[in-house]
């Protein structure tokens, strides 16, 4: 006699099949990546080659790692505008200490990592303790980190790096393609992040926090502490990106990192993670970073001037965000 809450129709065969396929969210970016590749292959014969793929991978490894930190932050429904500059300051600290101060290179790397991490902690502390919006806080630290980078380096490029700082730029061959150790590190970081976000309690709590912060707090999860950890961890990840950047370019460049803010956000959103938080998949971000890399590379090969590339990435991110917004409205 007891009324049951309305039942859901039994899972169909199609439904069961779909459950085993990668989520639709990752199919979109995969398709976009494929289309972009096909387009550039048709436009320039230099695109489809092993050596060009090596180049793309090397370019992607930096923004790809930055985008890991950015994904964590965006999943909590936050945003990190400072990521490129936190990477930049880390790379200058590493190279200046190792070259100009002749510090032990490993110690110098550690110091660079610490500085990026400390800035991430600062972001997190201001957001959780002073309760400022992430947008404003990271806009502030972006400028602070940029200014300190310029002052400390006197806007001079640091060259003549010791070997230890270049390790992740070295390559080994897989068939035609030269792969850097940095790319391998990036892939390992993605796998670890994927596992943690998908299979562990802290990872699921990041999603829950982005979904409904108050509900997550009421379930007894210390959301303020979680946010602090996420922003700090993101800072550390930008520090690793700094190490890869230095290894790829072979110099400490105080002007680096300026495109990585927007590129990382583009990668995250193209990868299907919602800017509203709580939804998305970190492996999608890797695809998103590849799309950004393929675009930048293909447009360069086609001889498109860099101003137009900036224009196109700008349009790309707005398109991606619009799709995200529209699909939420429907759902």
């Amino acid at each position: 006699m007891l009324p049951d809450l309305a039942t859901v129709p039994p899972t169909s065969i199609r439904g069961r099949l779909l459950a085993h396929l990668p989520p639709v969210a990752t199919l979109g970016p995969l398709l976009a990546l494929f289309l972009a590749g096909a387009f550039f292959t048709s436009q320039t014969d230099r695109f489809l080659s092993g050596s060009n793929f090596s180049l793309i991978l090397q370019q992607v490894m930096v923004v790809g790692v930055v985008a890991i930190g950015q994904t964590l932050v965006i999943l909590t429904a936050g945003i990190d505008l400072s990521c490129g500059m936190l990477m930049s300051i880390g790379s200058i600290v590493m190279t200046k200490l190792a070259v100009d101060s002749e510090m032990n290179p490993y110690l110098a790397i550690l110091c660079g990592l610490l500085v990026s991490t400390a800035f991430g902690f600062l972001n997190g502390a201001l957001i959780t303790r002073v309760k400022l919006p992430a947008f404003i806080v990271t806009l502030g630290t972006l400028n602070i980190a940029f200014a300190i980078t310029q002052i400390y380096s006197k806007s001079q490029t640091v060259s003549g790096l010791p070997e230890a700082l270049e390790f992740f730029g070295r390559t080994f061959r897989v068939g035609q393609t030269a792969v850097t150790y940095g790319t391998v590190l990036m892939l390992i970081m993605y796998l670890v992040a994927w596992f943690v976000l998908r299979d562990t309690a802290p990872g699921r709590h990041v999603y829950a926090l982005g979904n409904n912060a108050e509900a997550t707090r009421l379930m007894g999860i210390d959301t303020a502490r979680m946010l602090l950890v996420v922003y700090t961890l993101a800072g550390f990840v930008y520090g690793i990106a700094a190490l890869l950047l230095v290894a790829r370019t072979g110099v400490g460049d105080p002007q680096a990192g300026q495109t990585d803010n927007l590129d990382s956000i583009t990668a995250v959103v193209l990868g299907g993670t919602s800017l509203f938080g709580g939804r998305g998949n970190i492996l999608g971000t890797l695809l998103g970073a590849l799309i950004v890399g393929v675009f930048r590379n293909g447009l360069t090969l086609m001889g498109v001037a860099s101003v137009y590339q900036i224009l196109i990435t700008g349009i790309l991110v707005i398109l991606a965000v619009t799709t995200d917004q529209l699909s939420r409205r429907k759902g």
Partner: protein, 263 residues
């Protein structure tokens, strides 16, 4: 003057909570007895939500004491109250919409796997799915897949998830703040039925509701909140709905009620 009563399961004495100039609780008393459904009613702003938030550890009262099984307790966070077996369904549905039913049920107390993966922190998703299914079935909530995202459910089913979560983990008390407010007639009745099933398991339930027919249908006793205090506790079997509303709005003083109407 009154006969000796059993020790209340949950009791509050003289709770005070101020928000700036607003006094949400102004010396509120509260008693929940074993195995009962206690309805808490009152006008908007009477302090009902604030009262149960204090009992659930979601806010810390400025003054007053809370006793669980007759022993004083202090909750500094919702987790403290949950550790004592008090589970709450909040007014504004506390669920993570994009996450699955199973994940919502276990949010904050996910079981870990054994072995290496467990050591690495991996959750036991199979166990979560199976146990979620068991809980939902024991409350006769018919949802086939525990992997479904909560946002794909109807309002009543979502409420069912929130109620099932509290019922599954509560060892002492279940608190529900307007669980039927956003629901249609049919779904509201289903949730009432669910609340009865929880009580029939032996768990006392605190139910906040503005819906007088619901309250009179299901409550064993009715706590009337007014101006941050407890105005009276009445027995729905011996008082009319209109008298209850009169006390609630201040049109009638509790002393004017017949003695048997008070509980």
């Amino acid at each position: 003057m009154t006969e000796p009563r059993p020790t209340p399961i949950l009791e509050a004495r003289g709770l005070v909570k101020r928000y700036g100039h607003v006094t949400a609780l102004d010396g509120a008393d509260f008693q929940l007895l074993a195995g009962e459904i206690l309805a808490v009613i009152g006008d908007n702003g009477a302090g009902k939500s604030t009262l149960i938030k204090a009992l659930a550890g979601a806010i810390i009262p400025d003054a007053g004491e809370i006793l669980l099984d007759g022993k004083p307790v202090r909750f500094h966070s919702p987790l403290d109250a949950r550790r004592q077996g008090i589970e709450t369904v909040y007014q504004d549905l506390a669920v993570a919409p994009a996450m699955s039913i199973a994940e919502n049920l276990f949010l904050g107390r996910e079981p870990k796997r054994t072995g290496l993966l467990g050591w690495l922190g991996a959750l036991d998703k199979k166990k979560m799915l199976a146990e979620a299914m068991r809980h939902m079935q024991s409350l006769k909530i018919g949802i086939r897949s525990m992997k479904q995202a909560v946002e794909t459910l109807s309002g009543g089913q979502r409420q069912g998830v929130a109620v099932a979560r509290s019922a599954a983990f509560a060892r002492h008390v279940v608190i529900m703040d307007e669980p039927t407010a956003a629901l249609g007639v049919k779904e509201g009745n289903m949730v009432l039925e669910l609340i009865r099933r929880v009580r029939d398991r032996g768990l006392p339930v605190i139910l906040i509701s503005h819906n007088m027919p619901h309250v009179f249908e299901i409550a064993d006793r009715i706590h009337i909140a007014r101006l941050g205090k407890r105005a009276a506790v009445v027995n729905p079997k011996h008082i009319s709905m209109s008298d209850t509303v009169a006390v609630m709005t201040g049109a009638k003083r509790p002393e004017e009620l017949p003695a048997q109407a008070l509980a």
